[in-house]
Symmetry: C2
Subunit: 339 residues, 2 copies
């Protein structure tokens, strides 16, 4: 079904049908009504390709998982953010194009070319570690971009991320109030932005409370469970072993808990705080105290900011979202009294 057929059926020109589709106001009321009826009846919908070729607007937003690691489609943090993003953009009339084609360019990725190819209205970029240079080319282009956990600086870009320094502050403050003084930090890869910000925040707040920052008690994993397990084992082997551990992800915290248990030590003798508040953290033993990232807010914020940038309502907007401490048994007052 094409616009031509609809026009013939209605006894009007293509131009008139087009004007009705695009809500021009210089069309006769009866004509409009009749044509609308015919369109409805035949379930007609203008072709994306033809429209996109002529207009600038496509109502499609590109989704990019950037970086080599830690930004997978099924990552427990990002998937919740994306879920809300999808929902919110959907309500605004957008569909989402996930870039997965690995044959797009033979050697190096070229995100800008890909966006131009599809003529997307805007882009959301999920930031992993070791982000490709091509991402910043896109960032600096005319195409509106919103970064998640990825600071973008382009004129038509913005980013949404949790206040990472605040995350560490909440964790250390909680430890401090429970009397913990020997605190270790397990971060992500050294190349990770997020991890670096959290480590930096950690060191700052430790100083604020006059607590010692021991380099031996700072470990780097990759945000996944196994790496937390390994890092904790290294900490346990040290002569002076910390009793409190702040891990920069729940998965690593879960790995740390497992390491403590498997070493034969009592988990009650350790205080562990994770980060993210993924679903699993509520169900593990002991339930994990964690610094929650407001995934819904991040996803929704990303959608609205991107939409407003696309419509030129705003430019260059970035938001730091407040984290929240969720106290469960892995590090709590109640537990402290048991020791």
């Amino acid at each position: 079904m094409t616009i031509k057929e609809i026009a013939k059926l209605a006894g009007v020109s293509q131009a008139t049908v087009s004007k009705i589709i695009n809500n021009y106001d210089d069309v006769g009321a009866k004509t409009k009504e009749r044509v609308l009826g015919i369109m409805e009846e035949h379930g007609y919908r203008p072709s994306y390709a033809a429209q996109s070729l002529v207009k600038k607007v496509t109502k499609v937003v590109g989704v990019i998982y950037a970086g080599k690691i830690n930004a997978n489609f099924n990552h427990p943090f990002f998937v919740d953010v994306m879920s809300m993003f999808k929902k919110t953009m959907g309500a605004e009339g957008y569909d989402l194009l996930f870039f997965s084609n690995e044959k797009f360019h033979k050697n190096n990725e070229n995100y800008l070319a890909r966006c131009q190819h599809y003529n997307v209205d805007g882009c959301i970029i999920i930031g992993g570690d070791e982000v490709e240079p091509s991402v910043y080319e896109l960032d600096q282009s005319e195409i509106p971009c919103i970064g998640i956990d990825l600071p973008l600086s382009g004129k038509h870009s913005g980013y949404i991320m949790t206040d990472n320094a605040k995350i560490s502050a909440l964790a250390v403050e909680h430890f401090y109030l429970l009397g913990e003084r020997n605190i270790a930090f397990i971060g992500g890869k050294k190349t990770s932005n997020i991890s670096t910000e959290r480590l930096h925040g950690f060191k700052e707040v430790m100083k604020t409370y006059g607590l010692p920052v021991k380099e031996d008690w700072i470990k780097h994993g990759d945000f996944f469970e196994e790496s937390g397990f390994i890092a904790m084992n290294e900490l346990l082997e040290q002569e002076e072993c910390p009793e409190a551990v702040f891990a920069a992800s729940d998965l690593m915290a879960m790995g740390a808990v497992r390491a403590i248990k498997e070493s034969g030590r009592k988990i009650e003798d350790f205080a562990v705080i994770g980060c993210d508040d993924i679903t699993a953290s509520r169900y593990i033993d002991p339930p994990l105290t964690t610094v929650k990232q407001d995934k819904d807010k991040i996803g929704k914020m990303a959608a609205y900011v991107l939409k407003d940038m696309i419509n030129n309502q705003i430019e260059q907007t970035s938001v730091r979202v407040e984290p929240e401490l969720i106290i469960r048994e892995s590090c709590s007052e109640k537990k402290r009294q048991l020791r």
Copy 2:
């Protein structure tokens, strides 16, 4: 950058450039090389819209989360399936278009129109409960479709799902061998295909082993945690209370475990088996015995079958994937000996 500009730069016609893009073999070797060089240099990529308008092929596959419930973007089972699907389709040169736009049609959803609008090469449909009729319209169309947990019957359709009867068989068999005789079943909504298949399988196998199927011990939740909690509480309140519970999802099994704990009973006195093997099931207390669905295989299989249907290599292909029993502490030999 358009084909016209490339042609001018190379001193050839648009037609020649187009033939090179489309790998026609009637182009001079030197010409081809020169044009290729220029295209490379300028990072030129033909416009999706223009190509799609002329050709039939778009190298884009649509993704539909169908049904009102239980098929969300961040569903722990489907997200893993989709992750592998995305990866596999990506390696084959496809990008993925997720239908999220809620304004596409004012009242009723029309998936076929949407696919035609975007001119997608094929579609993957994730099946939830209470699937819209419009899905079956798409199913019966010319567009290749692959269903996940959704039996499709169209000439150009197929589906991939776990052998649900086998799932129940594995669970009941395991209970049987551990000496459990009082077995309850917690399923999803009655309108759920999957749940119905599992319940049916459950009843069949129970009969095979000569075990009693008590209607009071068959409960229906919605696959999420809270519903398992509620169902288990109902079971606990009964005069005769089952000691073994098979839940049709890990989340519901986790809810059941929570209900048992919060009721003040000892979790050691119950045997619980879940279904799916989501990530969290490994970390909860006690680690959950579950029937694993091979998510990677399902995702990969869906990708290859869909690709082959798109390329007319095959038609009407459906696969039942074998489940696997994963024994952990919530229901194991070791635990039985403790009782």
